[in-house]
Amino acid sequence: MDNLLLSNLHVSLGGNKILMGINFKVRKGEIVSLLGPSGCGKSTLLKTTAGLIEPSQGEVYIGGRLVNRLAPEERGTVIVFQDLRLFPHMNVGENIGFGLRMKGVNKEIIRKNVISILEKVGLAGCDKSKVYELSGGQQQRVALARALAAEPEVLLLDEPFSSLDENLRQKMRELVIKLHRELNLTTILVTHDQEEALLMSDRIAIMLNGQILQYDTPKSVYENPATPEVANYFGEMNYIEGFVEVGHFQSFHNSSIDGYKTSLKAGKYSLMLKPSQIKLVKEPGVWLIKAISYLGDKYNIRITNNGLDLVIVTASNTDVHIGELVNIKLDYPKGVFYKK
Amino acid sequence: MSYSRFKPYLMILPVVLVMAIFIIGLINGVLQSFGIIPAAGLTKLTLSYYQEVLNNGDLTASLWLSVYISLATSVIAVVIGVLVSVAATTSGLVKSKFFQILKIPVIVPHTVSALLMLNLFSQSGIVARMAYRMHLIRGQEGFISIMFDKNSIGIILAYLWKEIPFVIMIVVTIMANINSSFGEAAVNLGASKGKVFKHITLPLCLPSITTSFIIIFAYSFGAYEIPYLLGATDPKALPVQAYVEFVYPDIAHRPFAMVLNSLMIIFTVAIAYIYYKILSKNLVKSGMSND
């Protein structure tokens, strides 16, 4: 069942078209990511869903109801913002209980809810603390707890972890995943961090320039990116131009790249390979190593031959040097062919 | 947030209504200066009142007196105020809780300030008594009468007592902030403390300094209380003279008062407008947003 449905959504801000014809569905209990670079419109999509921005065209359905005319406080969507926005004049407990208080829920019930949620996020006993007394990570958890306590139908997270350091970010991701499993709450996460999206989502929607380029499971998006733009989002990619003729792919580049038997139709193609899909063959060859970057347990190596630059990765216990000449082997089955 | 298109206009409506009364008051005054007073049967637009006023030596004397008073007050207030702010910032005293003492005069009304100056500087005032005790003068008459004199020293002193702290209040916080943040950056790049002040702090404080100058100038130009209490009989300051004309028994005399008022209005608005234009241009140039 679709808990959220955006139909043909167009949004303009200050005369600029931000979202162009967005069609987007989220199933109940799903956790999906909106992934894309800054300015692609993902935050705008979130805010339009919540009712903070009015679309120039299109409909928003939440839980099956058309909510275009509903005010933000009536939609059942709650946003956790990147700058947290904890109310400074209320303590932790009052912040968390705010949503239920607005609904007019009984004070005793609110108190019990607050205590139970504080426990869930690992902040038991902090209900009377002042907001400014908490650490950054604690405040983050309060912001999350506050959103959950408001019992939303859809939870919207707008890049909530970008300002945290790596360690805290991991902990918060795990917390969100854990809570999601417990509460089965429909969640939309906006992020520009592809690792985060891959890790946390049931499905990922890649956005660029106000449109959704691909919306699929992490595995599909990562291994079968629909377009080069989608692929590029997950890292630097290698593109080898070539053509298919009589069931055989050959790169335009000279024959230092082997051919490949394929059932693709004839025509021009761009073969995309991830750096991990081109293997380094340590024998004297024709590919010159231009640069080596150390990344912990692997090397990023830039190689070149006859004007074509490629990026490959190899384990860091390999013995390689700049200026060395090596060979490569392409992992064709893993590559993606884009017809030109 | 999607506010309805009418909401902002509703929100500013009360202020707009109140300010409309203000604008109407000004326009009405200006109209009266051109001789349009229905209540007195005067309905023809004329410049004759302006001509008479500007040809009348007494009235133009009032004008120049007010210009002199406000210029002297604002220049001295700004110079001393900035100097004290500098002293407070560099000595670090700006952070002490006693520093609030310097802001006390801002809360005291101008009327009381006049009294304070009388207590101090009149011929029987405290300063005169001290001078006598120190054998600097030989009697009350020895102490120059500065209070109701032609040079309006009493008036200027009464203004200064309030306006110097006013300048300090406006300038010192910004000065302290700039000095610490940008000051650190500049010192890091090799500038001495003096150079930092001259090239960084002072220029960045200029908008605030200019703002306080304009406010003090405009206020001391058009205020009634202090020139009335401490002024010489002749010439009277412009606002005082305007009121004298205003309460003249014959209402047909009213336009003379309004001419003086209109001159005050035009003068102050022109200065404020010029200042506003210069300020926005400079802010855009320096890339700073003060709004």
Partner: protein
């Protein structure tokens, strides 16, 4: 000049400033309790409570004027806030036609002489019946206070934006609840500042109250004025001291009340 000498001079300048601020007030207080203070003595020869008797005795009407002035200024301050707060929010958060013009016009009462404005509006007020009334006085006082209150509320709104309000709305608060639970409490320090500023401006007004209020509305400042004109330093000083004390009491009261009911900590922290 060594740095130490430099610092000494700086400190001296500031201390001289303290003296200049406080000494006249001290003299004022001494005068209030003076019986006879002949030339050329540095201190009064006799002290007397004559002024206290005059002020509080009940014949002069000073206390009555004080209380009614206080009330008028309180009303002026409150109304100024009520009018300024929505306007400030609109100026900062919304875009509307004439926004810059409004910002300029609101500042005009500080630039344009109040005397000119008062004399200009007098006839008009007579026509619409506001002359010689408390309402008329309150109205013109508000006009004079707006530049300060709008400015302060604008600064406060700029500092906090509407981020917290947006968060409250998505958490389920209606616009009215957002206003009472979030906007007002957060704006409170600014509101208190504005109230103090407006109260002072209104309480200190002489000329405009004289003109618009006729003889009917007599504020304490007007009451005090003739005494300052007169030669009786003792009474004049006493009236002045009472004026300053009243202002101080109002400020302290406001400050304490706020601190008691709200514990905001550092309001601009939420980032």
């Amino acid at each position: 000049m060594t740095r130490k000498n430099n610092n000494f001079i700086m400190r001296a300048v500031v201390y001289v400033g303290y003296f200049m601020a406080l000494f006249p007030l001290l003299v004022l207080i001494i005068w209030s309790f003076t019986g006879i203070w002949p030339w050329p003595q540095l201190l009064p020869e006799t002290f007397s409570l004559r002024a206290l008797d005059e002020l509080f005795g009940g014949y002069s009407g000073a206390i009555k004027a004080l209380i009614s002035s206080g009330l008028i200024s309180a009303v002026v301050a409150l109304l100024s806030i009520v009018v300024s707060l929505p306007a400030a929010r609109a100026i900062v958060l919304c875009d509307f036609l004439g926004r810059d013009l409004l910002k300029f016009i609101v500042l005009m009462p500080v630039i344009v002489p109040a005397t000119a404005f008062a004399m200009g509006i007098d006839v008009l007020f007579m026509k619409i019946g506001l002359s010689d009334t408390v309402l008329g006085v309150i109205l013109v006082h508000i006009i004079l206070c707006l530049p300060y209150t709008v400015r302060i509320m604008t600064e406060v709104t700029e500092a906090t934006g509407d981020k917290l309000e947006v968060q409250a709305r998505v958490l389920g608060a209606s616009p009215l609840k957002v206003f009472t639970n979030i906007t007002l409490p957060i704006a409170l320090p600014g509101i208190i500042s504005s109230v103090c500023m407006a109260f002072i401006v209104s309480f200190s007004q002489y000329f405009i109250t004289l003109l618009i209020g006729g003889g009917t509305v007599v504020t304490y400042a007007m009451f005090m004025f003739p005494y300052i004109q007169s030669g009786d330093r003792t009474i004049a000083s006493a009236y002045s001291v009472l004026f300053l004390l009243s202002t101080l009491i109002v400020f302290v009261f406001l400050d304490r009340t706020v601190k008691k009911y709200y514990d905001i900590g550092d309001v601009f922290y939420f980032n």
